[in-house]
């Protein structure tokens, strides 16, 4: 796993969502930039370079796309851990969720999220949203120092 590297960290437990997201990003040739982790614990393992990610290449992702409803450690807890850690706190985080609930939104923004995107049901809209997110954060935006460099 030490070759795992990418500018987009996708934290998502749903296999279909992962596939659709990768397909959407694939249309803009960003699929190989994506590291997929399936729950909050794995996300933190990746970010802290521990467990199976002990020997991964150094560097923070240029953006983390974070689902909120996750097994074990949920998205808000991941966000809290990231914002509480000196080396991780600068990582841009975009919440990508099904939830339109206000309290989720408020909690996310309070924890300093950089964006909050509700996954559209319509596939066109979904693809557009993912594409724009990927392009903006992985290509257009200058990531904070310490992030994985563009290939």
């Amino acid at each position: 796993m030490n070759e795992v590297m990418g500018r987009i960290l996708l934290v998502e437990d749903d296999a279909e969502d992962i596939e659709l997201t990768l397909k959407a990003l694939g249309e803009y040739h960003l699929a190989n930039e994506v590291v997929v982790v399936r729950d909050g614990e794995e996300a933190l393992d990746y970010l802290y370079s521990r467990g199976v990610y002990k020997s991964r290449a150094r560097g923070n992702p240029a953006v983390m796309l974070l689902d909120l409803k996750l097994p074990k450690v949920d998205g808000l807890e991941v966000l809290q851990a990231v914002r509480g850690n000196d080396t991780l706190r600068l990582i841009p985080v975009v919440v990508l969720t099904s939830s339109r609930e206000e309290r989720d939104m408020v909690a996310s923004y309070k924890l300093g999220v950089n964006g909050y995107v509700v996954k559209p049901v319509d596939f066109h809209e979904f693809v557009n949203a993912i594409k724009e997110l990927g392009v903006f954060w992985a290509v257009i935006n200058e990531p904070p120092p310490g992030s994985v460099a563009k290939r």
Binding site: K23, S98, S99, R100, E102, K119, V121, D122, F126
Partner: protein
């Protein structure tokens, strides 16, 4: 008898005390009368003595003078008594002891004269002491009578009050029982007096009787709630106030107990407490079910949307990927799949919005409905584009309420009006205010659209209830249910009026701000 006693009390000089109220003139008049009487009695005794002497009776003089002295002392007191003794001694020496008609007394008669004077003095002294005792007794009796009168009056005053008051001695024996006590406890004074108070009333103390008594003796009073029982056996709760009465030596004498009936108050308090417990329980239940509902809505939001998104996503991919392999019918099926997924997405969104009305806190502010309606009309521009709509937006009142929610309600009503007038060449939509019940604001949204059958008006505001086929007018059937819920949360009501094919009017009534 009474009047004379009274006069003597006023003269009052025997005991050497000044008379209590008499003026100076009255005192000297009394003195003159006492001395005058003394002179008269002595004159009578002297006259009778001389009369006796003339008839050779020489032994009646001494008793006559003694009688005069006694009578004088009795009615006149010590002063006139002493005067009588002096005068009678002189008269006796002058008229009746040898040699007569001189103040000299024969040596033979001197012992007899001395005995006379001594005897006169003794009579005077005895009489005056006797009189003093008598007078003291009378005074004591009068004081007692006066005190009894005062006490009786006080007791009758105590009797007038409706408060229950009784007095018990330190052995708990009832010594006073007022009318209020009779009314409260059902025992009359005759039945209660002499009985033990705690036994009679079956008193139940909040703490031990010893504690209560200790406090009473220490502080002189005690108050608290006591359980009592009436004569007819019904239980009472009274608020009792006890005051300890002490005698001159500070020894506890009796306890004055006043009792207020608080049974009814207690009962109501109990009732209220019971209701509060019920309420708390129900609130907790409601909160629990609200939490459940919230959890349900939350997971609906998350979990129902995901598979839907997958259906839509893969259908889309299928359409793209296999379009060339599918015939017309196959492609039609795929569009139906996509439309279904989209519709379900809308349903979920609307349902969530509907459930959110009940869950979110409302923020109250004065909201101008007119401004809100104009905003709504602007927001609906996309739908009204290319349509011929005549808007009539009358002066509208303001309401106290949650702006966002009220906007959702108006948006639903106005967009309905826009939707159901679609078949009209020229749509007329009027939003106005009218008079309602006192204290109410009524706003209506009227259109000249297709209307609905009043037979189904009761179904109009139900969730997922639709009175038109989906192909004719799209919609999820949640809009009017949402309106009703929002208005209900603002303490108002909604109703509708229509003629099938002749337009519809929807009314919102809400409390005046």
């Amino acid at each position: 008898m009474q009047a004379r006693n009274h006069a003597q009390v006023i003269e009052g000089d025997i005991a050497g005390r000044p008379p209590p109220v008499a003026g100076h003139g009255r005192m000297s008049a009394g003195l003159i009368r006492s001395y005058g009487l003394a002179v008269i009695w002595l004159a009578i005794a002297l006259g009778l003595g001389l009369l006796g002497q003339a008839h050779g009776l020489n032994r009646v003089q001494t008793p006559l003078f003694m009688m005069a002295i006694m009578v004088t002392v009795w009615y006149g007191g010590a002063g006139p008594g002493a005067f009588a003794v002096l005068v009678s001694s002189i008269a006796f020496a002058f008229f009746f002891s040898e040699p007569k008609h001189s103040f000299e007394i024969h040596a033979d008669d001197q012992p007899q004269f001395a005995a006379f004077v001594l005897f006169a003095l003794m009579i005077g002294w005895f009489s005056s002491s006797r009189r003093r005792i008598e007078q003291d007794l009378r005074r004591a009796r009068d004081q007692l009578a006066a005190e009894v009168a005062v006490r009786t009056e006080q007791a009758s005053l105590l009797d007038l009050t409706h408060d229950s008051i009784f007095v018990r001695d330190m052995n708990d024996i009832i010594t006073y029982w007022n009318h209020g006590a009779e009314e409260l406890f059902g025992w009359n004074a005759e039945q209660a007096l002499g009985r033990s108070a705690h036994d009679l009333l079956r008193t139940v103390f909040p703490t031990s009787l010893e504690d209560v008594h200790a406090e009473l003796l220490r502080t002189g009073h005690w108050e608290g709630e006591l359980g009592k029982t009436r004569a007819d056996g019904t239980a009472l709760v009274v608020f009792a106030r006890w005051a300890l009465r002490r005698d001159g030596e500070q020894q506890p004498l009796s306890v004055l107990a006043s009792n207020n009936d608080i049974t009814e108050r207690r009962r109501r308090e109990e009732e209220i407490r019971g209701l509060n417990v019920d309420l708390a329980k129900r609130t907790a239940e409601l909160e629990a079910s609200n939490k459940e509902l919230e959890a349900f809505a939350y997971s609906t939001s998350h979990d129902l949307r995901a598979p839907l998104r997958h259906m839509a996503g893969y259908s889309e991919l299928l359409q793209k990927h296999a379009a060339s392999m599918l015939d017309e019918e196959g492609r039609y099926y795929v569009t139906k799949l996509l439309a279904g997924a989209r519709r379900m997405g809308r349903l979920i969104d609307d349902l969530l919005a509907f459930s959110r009305i009940g869950r979110t806190e409302t923020q109250s502010a004065l909201v101008s409905l007119e401004r809100l309606v104009r905003e709504v009309v602007v927001e609906l521009e996309r739908e009204t584009e290319g349509r011929d709509i005549e808007w009539k937006i009358g002066p509208l009142p303001s309401l106290h309420g949650d702006r966002a929610m009220l906007k959702v309600a108006l948006l639903n009503l106005v967009s309905n009006a826009v939707k159901f007038t679609r078949t009209r060449a020229r749509a007329e939509i009027e939003i106005g205010a009218m008079n309602g019940k006192p204290g109410e604001v009524v706003v209506f949204v009227r259109d000249n659209g297709v209307g609905f059958d009043m037979r189904y008006v009761n179904k109009l505001f139900g969730v997922f209830q639709r009175l038109h086929r989906a192909e004719a007018f799209e919609g999820t059937g949640i809009g009017l249910a949402t309106v009703q819920r929002i208005v209900a949360r603002h303490g108002g009501r909604v109703w509708a009026d229509s003629v099938l094919g002749g337009g519809a009017t929807f009314y919102i009534a809400a409390p005046k701000p």
